[in-house]
Symmetry: C2
Subunit: 238 residues, 2 copies
DNA sequence: GTAATAGTGTCTCTTAGACAATATGCC
DNA sequence: GGCATATTGTCTAAGAGACACTATTAC
């Protein structure tokens, strides 16, 4: 059976998800090695069919995939783009609604999904996706990286890559890793301060063999407001 | 028949399109009065099923809808968002991939689509969609208006609402109509100049009972580059 | 003390916006 | 000239980035 309303055949609808984290000073994406045809044994983004009985919305399906892969059910999740054509899957006309998620590395517990032999973090180097992926997933990943880089400049979504408590240096470092540029410290702090998106946590600090840093936590207060009045301007190279 | 690849039933896939124009100093959207059930006789966005035999991609389907409704086949067209749930259509689980298009008022030739009794321009007043539309189309339209307003601030897409030849005052007026704010004239001109997105047309001018304005045409050169280095800051009210 | 990172302050330069001056058409 | 809109120029203020200074810990 299918649920088609019209006289016309309808394409198969999948949901794929690009899950980013930052770990060991590197931007990483969650990939799986496919356990079924087509593209058996090749790398791909996690994803699957919408389950009409269980998923009430597309976002439900994306959340389900995210939780299946990482065990995480509350984090930053955003619809990326919808890819649909007769060519993108060798089996015929398909539509993939792609999402992208940001998860804090310390919260992830990887498990393999049902059609995946294994799930693992793949490091992203440079600005282009240079490695092969099944279907058009290399294009989807490329688009996701560009969306991430664009939104990081004018929103506060990067906090979702950090643990609950973090220092301003760690926060800045996240920006530098994603953008692959160096940021000016005082400007960054000034703008974080003005944006009012973080709040210092009581007496807590963190150690090293140097001055300890103030810990902060994210404040949800500026919902979807612009982070920076200007777009970020990156530090000049010396 | 259907083309489902999986064991699961797949939702019906539609493409809906939000077509904007600016006419008589007003932002307008193209609506149709539905000629079939459900929502017979109610207002809706133009749209229809993906036709697997004719459309090679989702964008093909959107372009086909756009041309069916307006006769225009080359203009600004961008995927907006994908809406999918069990509830949005009374007939069951559907997915609608929504696009939005900008068309110049002088290029449109309205014709009714196959499932539409009539197509017409509806004026948009204020910042909220206050009138009822079929399905979740009021939400789609609201999202489209917000996307348009957001992108107008940092891209040059507004030129697609103008005729081939236009004056800088007309260009600025488009911004003011979409944003419902007054812009500072000299700042606007300075930035348009720096962005290098328009080029004066040879000796041409346009008349009134006052100094005629230089005519410009759009230059495609800065493909997808940022229009404004800062986001636009609107003129203070006196 | 040194090393290392956290955090702050000052100075300069760019640019948006206010405001006004000038330009050019029609009557 | 008078009116209306086009176009340009000047001044000020806000904010970004360079750079350097101070602060605080471990050793």
């Amino acid at each position: 059976m299918n649920s088609n309303l019209s006289l016309y055949p309808s394409p198969t609808v999948m949901v794929d998800i690009v899950i980013f984290t930052v770990e060991q000073d590197t931007l990483k994406v969650l990939l799986i090695k496919r356990g079924i045809e087509p593209f058996y044994g090749e790398n791909a983004l996690p994803g699957g069919s919408v389950q009409l009985e269980h998923d009430h919305t597309l976002e439900d399906a994306a959340k389900r995939e995210l939780e299946e892969e990482t065990g995480i059910n509350h984090t930053y999740l955003e619809q990326l783009y919808t890819y649909g054509s007769a060519q993108r899957d060798p089996r015929g006309w398909t539509v993939s609604v792609a999402y992208f998620a940001l998860v804090a590395a310390d919260e992830v517990r990887l498990k393999a999904g049902s059609d995946a032999a294994e799930a693992y973090w793949h490091s992203i180097q440079g600005h282009r996706v240079e490695f092969p992926l099944a279907f058009d997933h290399a294009i989807i990943l490329q688009d996701a990286i560009e969306r991430l880089r664009a939104k990081v400049e004018y929103t506060d979504i990067a906090v979702h890559l950090l643990p609950q408590a973090f220092t301003l240096s760690e926060f800045q470092r996240i920006y530098e890793i994603i953008m692959q540029e160096t940021l000016n410290k005082s400007s960054f702090r000034k703008r974080v301060d003005q944006a009012g998106i973080v709040k210092p946590i009581k007496g807590q600090m963190r150690t090293g063999s140097n001055r300890p840093a103030q810990l902060y936590r994210f404040t949800n207060t500026n919902n979807n407001r612009l982070f920076f009045p200007r777009s970020l301007v990156w530090a000049e190279k010396k």
